[in-house]
């Protein structure tokens, strides 16, 4: 693969690749072929969050850069808007970032070989790119190397150039043919990715340009940016191990490498679909999809759900997406969207277990202040707790709601349902049932049967001697008289219906405690699946 590379890629003006990386070597072209290797000499065991995240900014690159390599389904999926295209908004720095900056300037951490200006420039770079890339909140600032470490690492990189060439990358067996070809490309593109990924390499560039435009410019030169494959990473790790082993009599002096990052994995998989498998060991980056890919996956799944309605497949795919998001510690609006969509689909299909898992996550995500359809889902929570008759959880939900939220339609509706049922006001309950926003009806349908029984018990006790069947139909909101009659028949109430001059009457006085039994059973059997 290396030979297929242009021996000296013409540096397009302004590109990171040219400006940052090639510059030290341009004077000595003999080094150029070795560039590929340089990434292996990186002292970082795991890629810094900053590397592949840059690829997030250009999720469209897969489809655009190598259209021939992709299956029709993939190309059909419309690429979602890249995160970096989001309008620049006023930034509030999270505390984690503040801490990071503080940490950088702690006397203990200062390095006299690195000047303060360099450090400040590096800090600014790192943080700006994190902000622009939209991963400010997902990145683990605790384990982020300090700017001085980055600068040192950079210097080291230039020293470690003269190392034996790497083993040629092998195509992992699990990837499908189209992806495999892209994997190959990827390995050859490695240097490029690396260049793009390391924002600190070009100090001349304007900071703001970096994230937004690198993708486009790379596309112009028709080079696909790809993150490292599993194998390369493995090699990198091995290499580092080896280096460490010989550290004692190693001729080139190297600064001690920063401690291995125990932060979240950063995925490198480019495959859209992935079967769900429960993790029993730390995840392998090559089998984890980065956010850019997951965004495409989501589009694909939405489309597939519309067209095929195969819940088993969809659920499996969503679970693997959730897993990928979790292991990479991605918690943003996209995460919320994934969980919301999965929750809706699960709700539609009555898969309460998955639904609950999603709801639990959504609650936590909303609490972190991540935007989404929180009103809709909070309303579902209330309805669900009515279904499970979970009083203490209901109390908790009430405690969490703000006055403003209580006035919003979905939540107000759910609260009205709650109070109507609490007071036994079936009349109001069935009016509300008829007027349920969003997908709340799926939840209401779970307990409307038992509430009808309760209402029937009420009616049978209170009304004498009888009521027209039409009254039951209307009060208990049946579709038709036939449905109402069927409901009564289903509970062995055939003797309670009587045809009187063409109108059917319901003999309430005769019913006595007829519906008490079924009512008690219906209320006693509330199946609580999943945790919430």
């Amino acid at each position: 693969m290396v030979p297929s590379w242009p021996p000296a890629p013409p540096p397009p003006p302004g590109t990171q690749a040219a400006a940052s990386y090639a510059s030290p070597y341009q004077a000595a072209p003999a080094f150029t072929p070795v560039q590929v290797r340089q990434s292996f000499g990186q002292p970082y065991p795991a890629p810094q969050p900053a590397y592949p995240v840059h690829a997030y900014g250009s999720p469209s690159h897969v489809t655009q850069s190598s259209p021939t390599n992709h299956s029709p389904t993939v190309t059909a999926a419309s690429p979602p808007a890249p995160a970096s295209e989001a309008p620049r908004k006023k930034t509030i720095w999270p505390d984690s970032v503040r801490n990071y900056v503080q940490r950088s300037f702690l006397p203990d951490n200062l390095d006299e070989t690195v000047s303060r200006q360099d450090m400040e420039a590096k800090l600014k770079e790192t943080i700006t790119s994190a902000n622009d890339g939209g991963y400010m909140y997902t990145i683990n600032w605790e384990t982020m190397p300090l700017p001085q470490e980055m600068i040192r690492a950079e210097r080291n990189r230039t020293q470690t150039v003269q190392q034996p060439p790497p083993i040629p990358p092998v195509v992992p067996s699990f990837s499908s043919p189209p992806a495999a070809t892209s994997k190959k490309r990827k390995s050859s593109d490695l240097t490029d990715t690396d260049l793009a990924g390391g924002p600190w390499r070009n100090n001349n560039n304007r900071l703001e340009d970096r994230v937004t435009f690198t993708a486009d410019k790379r596309l112009a030169t028709n080079e696909t940016p790809k993150a490292m494959s599993k194998f390369q990473k493995q090699q990198q790790k091995n290499l580092e191990k080896r280096q460490k082993r010989f550290h004692g009599d190693y001729t080139t002096h190297r600064e001690p490498s920063p401690p291995p990052s125990d932060g979240p994995v950063v995925g490198t998989s480019q495959v859209l679909e992935k079967r769900y498998l429960r993790l029993t060991a730390p995840p392998v980056p090559s089998q984890v999809r980065p956010e850019s890919i997951l965004r495409q996956t989501l589009e694909l799944l939405k489309q597939k759900w519309r067209n095929e309605q195969n819940y088993t497949y969809i659920c499996d795919q969503f679970k693997s997406m959730r897993q990928d998001l979790t292991v990479q510690n991605i918690r943003n609006e996209f995460t919320v969207e994934v969980y919301e969509i999965h929750a809706r689909i699960a709700l539609e299909k009555g898969d309460l277990s998955e639904y609950n898992q999603c709801q639990t996550q959504l609650k936590a995500l909303y609490q972190r202040g991540i935007k989404g359809k929180s009103l809709e889902f909070k309303a579902y929570r209330i309805l669900y707790f009515i279904h499970t008759a979970n009083r203490s959880a209901l109390n908790d939900v009430l405690a969490d709601l703000t006055t403003a939220e209580k006035a919003e339609r979905p939540i107000k509706h759910a609260l009205d349902v709650r109070s109507a049922l609490a007071l036994g006001n079936y009349h109001r309950f069935f009016r509300l049932y008829n007027d349920t926003p969003n997908m709340g009806a799926y939840l209401l349908d779970m307990f409307v049967g038992r509430e009808r029984l309760a209402a029937l018990c009420n009616v049978c006790k209170a009304y004498k001697p009888d009521v027209p069947l039409r009254f039951i139909t209307e009060e208990l909101y049946f579709e038709s008289d036939a449905d109402a009659a069927q409901f009564i028949l289903d509970h062995n109430g055939q003797h309670l219906l009587e045809d009187r001059d063409g109108t059917v009457v319901f003999l309430t006085a005769k019913a006595g405690l007829h519906f008490e039994g079924p009512r008690a059973t219906a209320f006693g059997r509330v199946d609580i699946k999943g945790q919430i």
């Binding site: 505390d95 984690s96 801490n99 683990n140 605790e142 125990d262 932060g263 979240p264 994995v265 429960r278 993790l279 029993t280 060991a281 730390p282 995840p283 679970k319 959730r322 897993q323 979790t326 292991v327 510690n329 918690r331 898992q357 639990t360 996550q361 609650k363 936590a364 609490q367 009083r391 203490s392 209901l394 109390n395 908790d396 009430l398 405690a399 109070s419 609490a422 007071l423 036994g424 006001n425 079936y426 009349h427 109001r428 018990c457 009420n458 009616v459 006790k461 209170a462 009304y463 004498k464 001697p465 009521v467 009254f471 209307e474 009060e475």
Partner: protein
């Protein structure tokens, strides 16, 4: 440190657990703590303590076996270290804490070590049962430090994302990290007490109610009150071997009964809840205003549902907060002011929800409605007497429209007749369980709705049972 040795010696001589527990307390002034801290350093702490204990009266008398004395040396060595951490935190203000590396988390960890050392002392069965106050005193402080450590952690927002191999995030993983751990530690203490096989008069089981109360407090704080159920189950499983509740200090009895009552309350078993809470109320010290207030917070709603009784002004007099909570509602219930009741409930909603009594108080609306309907019924007056001299009969056939008018009083919206019928049907259908007569239930209203005629036909003998009419 010398004071500590003296206390130890004195306590051991008299088998005085409370005195002994004072040797492992955190409830000392900074000066006292510093006095302990300064007696030794990390290298000679064990020697100093060993010599100190051996040189004390009890040590010289040789009354304590060597093994046990060694275990006590371990305990006090850990205590000394914990004192150091506590001093470090107390001596530094909040701002300097980061730099000085002192933290409540460290205090918590060192206190946990102390608890472990104690538990170890018991499990190797050398510590005698009269020393158990040490266990729960330590547990008490452990809980305090856990809460402080969590508060400290949440305020610094150190949301260090740990690697996660699960499918989803655990949303509540870190928030109450220390307190959850504390609950686990207290559970160890609970089991240490529960599983003591020694004869009862000499058993660690005497400490069990103290520990349970600590656990209850912790579980409630963690918002997982349901876990308390497991404790009660374990307790009732070994009920026969337990010391009777009446034999432990009153303060602990009250706490225990209070939590037992609140647990039942949360499970909607108001009859049982009322029983336990009433016991707690009766035993509560007359000056423990705060505790009495807490008990009443749940006892008043209980009474409302079980006996339909409302708190009197005199009862609530010493508790301005409870007056604010309950008096408006009570008044509206009493007068049957339905709409005003709704408003009052809404007004106090946040406060009620916080105390977990909202859903219970809401059910007071039934009684307010009943009182309103009763008024309508009374206003209806009497039937024309059928014969001279017969006692007058109330008009028991009441048009639904009259009730509808009554319900609409004071509020803007008018309910349609179907909804009014629905409310009436509820009154006829609903039963209220009385505390004194668990097996005898009565409805809120006796009668039936004749829909065709738009009438409610009420019972001639007690249309509203329990209200004298």
């Amino acid at each position: 440190m010398d004071a500590l040795f003296d206390d130890f010696s004195g306590a051991q001589k008299k088998c005085n657990g409370d005195l002994l527990s004072r040797t492992v307390t955190a409830g000392l002034t900074n000066d006292e703590l510093r006095a302990i801290w300064k007696t030794c350093n990390a290298y000679d702490v064990k020697d100093v303590i060993k010599h100190g204990l051996q040189a004390s009266d009890i040590g010289r008398s040789g009354a304590i076996p060597k093994e046990e004395l060694k275990a006590w040396v371990d305990v006090y060595a850990v205590y000394w270290k914990a004192v150091g951490e506590l001093l470090a935190v107390r001596d530094t203000s909040n701002d300097n804490r980061r730099a000085s590396q002192a933290s409540w988390a460290k205090v918590y960890e060192s206190w946990k070590e102390l608890l472990s050392a104690l538990i170890k002392g018991y499990n190797s069965s050398s510590f005698e049962s009269w020393t158990i106050p040490c266990l729960y005193v330590t547990g008490k402080y452990l809980r305090e430090f856990a809460i402080k450590a969590d508060a400290e952690k949440n305020s610094t927002q150190d949301n260090a994302a740990e690697p996660n191999f699960q499918d989803d995030f655990d949303p509540e993983a870190q928030q109450n990290h220390h307190l959850e751990d504390c609950a686990r530690q207290l559970n160890r203490v609970f089991n240490t007490c529960l599983n003591d096989r020694a004869p009862l008069e000499n058993s660690r089981k005497w400490g069990i109610y103290h520990v349970i109360n600590l656990l209850f407090k912790t579980y409630f704080k963690l918002n997982s009150a349901s876990l308390s159920k497991n404790i009660l189950k374990a307790l009732s499983a070994g009920r026969g071997d337990m010391p009777p509740l009446e034999a432990i200090p009153k303060s602990q009895q009250v706490t225990f009964k209070y939590y037992e009552g609140v647990l039942q309350f949360l499970e909607e078993d108001y009859v049982q809840a009322e029983k336990h809470l009433t016991e707690a109320w009766r035993m509560c010290h007359k000056d423990a205003t705060k505790n009495k207030e807490l008990i009443l917070t749940y006892l008043v709603p209980c009474h409302l549902l079980t006996a339909h009784t409302l708190p009197s002004k005199k009862l609530l007099e010493p508790y301005p907060r409870l007056q604010k909570l309950f008096l408006p509602l009570s008044q509206h219930i009493r007068k049957g002011e339905l709409h005003a009741f709704d408003l009052a409930l809404q007004e106090g909603e946040d406060e009620f929800v916080k105390r977990r009594i909202y859903l219970t108080l809401e059910r007071g609306r039934d009684i307010a409605l009943r009182n309103l309907l009763r008024k309508v019924f009374i206003t209806g007056g009497f039937e024309e007497p059928k014969s001279e001299g017969a006692s007058p009969l109330r008009r028991t056939r009441v048009p639904i429209a009259e009730f509808a008018a009554g319900i609409s009083l004071g509020c803007q919206e008018t309910l349609d007749n179907d909804e009014v019928e629905c409310l009436l049907a509820n009154m006829i259908y609903k039963v209220m369980t009385h505390l004194l007569t668990v097996f005898w239930t009565q409805n809120l209203m006796k009668g039936y709705i004749a829909r065709e005629r738009g009438m409610v036909v009420l019972s001639k003998s007690g249309a509203f049972p329990g209200t004298g009419i």
